[in-house]
Symmetry: C2
Subunit: 339 residues, 2 copies
Amino acid sequence: MSKKKAEPAGELALIQQIRSTFPAGRSTAVTLGIGDDCAILRPPGGQEVVVTTDFTLENRHFRRDLHPASSVGHRCLARGLSDIASMGAKPLAAFLSIALPGTMLTTARGRQWMAEFFAGMRSLARRHNTPLAGGDTSQSPGDLILADIILIGAAPTGRSLRRSGARAGDLLYVTGSLGGAHAELTALKTKRRSQARGSEVHPHLFPQPRLSVGAYLLHHRLATAAIDLSDGLSTDLTHLCESSRVRAEVDAAALPLHPLTSRLDPQQAMHAALNGGEDYELLFAADPGTPIPRRIAGVPITSIGTLLPRNARKPLLTLRTADGSSAPLRAAGWEHFVS
Amino acid sequence: MSKKKAEPAGELALIQQIRSTFPAGRSTAVTLGIGDDCAILRPPGGQEVVVTTDFTLENRHFRRDLHPASSVGHRCLARGLSDIASMGAKPLAAFLSIALPGTMLTTARGRQWMAEFFAGMRSLARRHNTPLAGGDTSQSPGDLILADIILIGAAPTGRSLRRSGARAGDLLYVTGSLGGAHAELTALKTKRRSQARGSEVHPHLFPQPRLSVGAYLLHHRLATAAIDLSDGLSTDLTHLCESSRVRAEVDAAALPLHPLTSRLDPQQAMHAALNGGEDYELLFAADPGTPIPRRIAGVPITSIGTLLPRNARKPLLTLRTADGSSAPLRAAGWEHFVS
C-alpha cells in the first residue's frame, strides 16, 4: 500500500538467493528466466501446455514448529509436480510467488530457514529437471509465510490424461502405498519424528510426485483417466467418478497400506488410506483388457477396484470389505474450506 | 494441516461462483479449463509462451476499507495483464489462486464482496478476451484475503519485447500519463473519493493495462525494449537500464502528468510521476530513426528522454529540469520489502 522508500536490501538479497539457488540451467524450454516482466517458454513442437497452481500457506498447509524448512520447500513444489504427473505431462518450468515476514530476511534464523526451504525445493526440482523460471516476491502482510507454486508442463497434443476419460468396466489402480502421509503427520504431532530420511520413511515430509509413472501411462496409452491423491482417495475418487460419470467399487483388502500405518490401529490405518490425503500417489483407470505392469519406473502398481455404470439407487463409491459385505464410502478427505 | 471433515459447502459455492462468473468461453487456446488437475492450453503455432505471477495481498496491495471490491478484482488481473502487455504478447488465459477468510463465504457481506471482486475481474477479463482457466482455492490462515494471479500469454517466437534490448542512442517513451495512481491513492486516503467511474478519473482503482499498445509495438517492430510501470518510473527505468546496460537522461518537462496530479503541489506531482508507481503504463525504447506514432490504439505516446552509453562516472539515471540543470535520479519507487 504505502510507498516505503527504504533500501530494498532484503528483497534484493532474496532474489539473489533465489537466482543463485536456481541458476539458469540447460533447459531448452526456458528461453528467458527470472528478471523480466514475464518468463518466456518454448514448449516442444506438437505439444500442449498444462498449467496448475497450488498454495502453500503457513498454518494451513504446514506449521513451522512441525515441518522442517526443507520439507516445506519440497512439499510446495511436490504439490505442483504431482498435478503435472497426473496429466502424464513433463514439467517445463516452475514459478514461485512467495510472501515473507520481514524477519525471514533480517535475522540469521530467518535466513537459515529460507536457505533450507530453497534447498528442499531445489533438490526436488533437480530430480525432475524443473527450472524455476520466475514468480513474485512480497513482504507478507502478517507474520505468516505464504507461497503459491505454479507448474507449467507439456504433453503430446490431445494426449494429456484427464479425470474424465474413465468408462464403466475399467479397473482402478493406485501407485505406491496409501496412508503413509497421514500416519507420519500423526506421529509428527505426537513428537515421534523419525531421524531417518527418504520418502519411504517420510511420506508426509518428502512425498515423491509420480512423474515417471504418469509419463509412462501416457506414452504407452495405458490409462483412460488419472488424478493425483492430494485430498485423499475417497475425495479424489469421487472427483474421478463425477468427471467420468461412473461409480466405483473399492476392495478394502486390496489397498496397499504404507508400512507406517502399522503404527495405527486397523480402523485408523484404513481411515488414513481412504481419507488421509497428501500421499501424492496417482489413481488411474484402465481398460480391463490393458495389461498393467506390476511396477512402473520402480513404483508398485496395485489394482484396488472397479468402475461401474452410474446408478441412481447406488452410492457413488462403495467399499467392499474382506468379509464380503459392502458399505457406501463417503468423500471424507481434505476440504479446503470449513464453514 | 488438520483434516476437518465438515461439508465443503463454502468451497463448492466459491468454485461454483467462479465457474458461473467465468464460463468456459469460445477461447481457442484453452482446451480444458477449471475442473481437472491441470488446465490444458494450446498456444497458436509459431508462438512462444510468456508467464507472469503477481500477488494481491490484503493490507499490502489493497485495503478493504479503501478499495471497493470491484477495484481489487480489477487491479489483481490488471497487474498480470500489464506484464503481458510489456512483452507485446497477447493473453491466452489467467489462473487465480485465492485464499479467503471463512467469513467471506458464510456471511452476506462477505459473499457480496466476493461477487463484486469477481465482477471487477470479469469486466477487465472480457475486455481483453482472457478466460480464467484454473487456479487454487484455500481458506486463509488468518483474516486476510490473499490472491495470486497468473497470466499466460503468447507472442510470435523470438519477438517478445524484453527489458534488455535497448541501445545507447535510443529514445525513451511512455504511454498515457504518469502519477495519476499515486494522486488518486493520496486522495483516497484523505477520503476525497470521486464518485465518477473510468480510468481517466480512477487511474489507481481501475488502471488500464496497455495490451493494444504492446501488441502494436511488437507487430510493427517499433520498440527495442519495454517494461511496464508498476513500481514507478525511477525504479522501472533503472531495471530497463540495468538490463540493457545503458544509462538514461529523463526530461522532467516532458513527463506527461496525469490531470489528477494538479491537485498536488508541483514537487509532489513530480514525485508522483517519478516514483508513484502502479500507473501500469508502458515504458519503452526505440531507435531514434523509428517514427513513433503520437497515439497508438488511442493512447498518447510521449518521448521523455534518451538512453546513453554506460559511464562509471555518471549516475544511471539523470533528470534534466526545465532550467537546464540536471541531477541524479534515484530509484525510489515501490519496494516489495522494507527491512
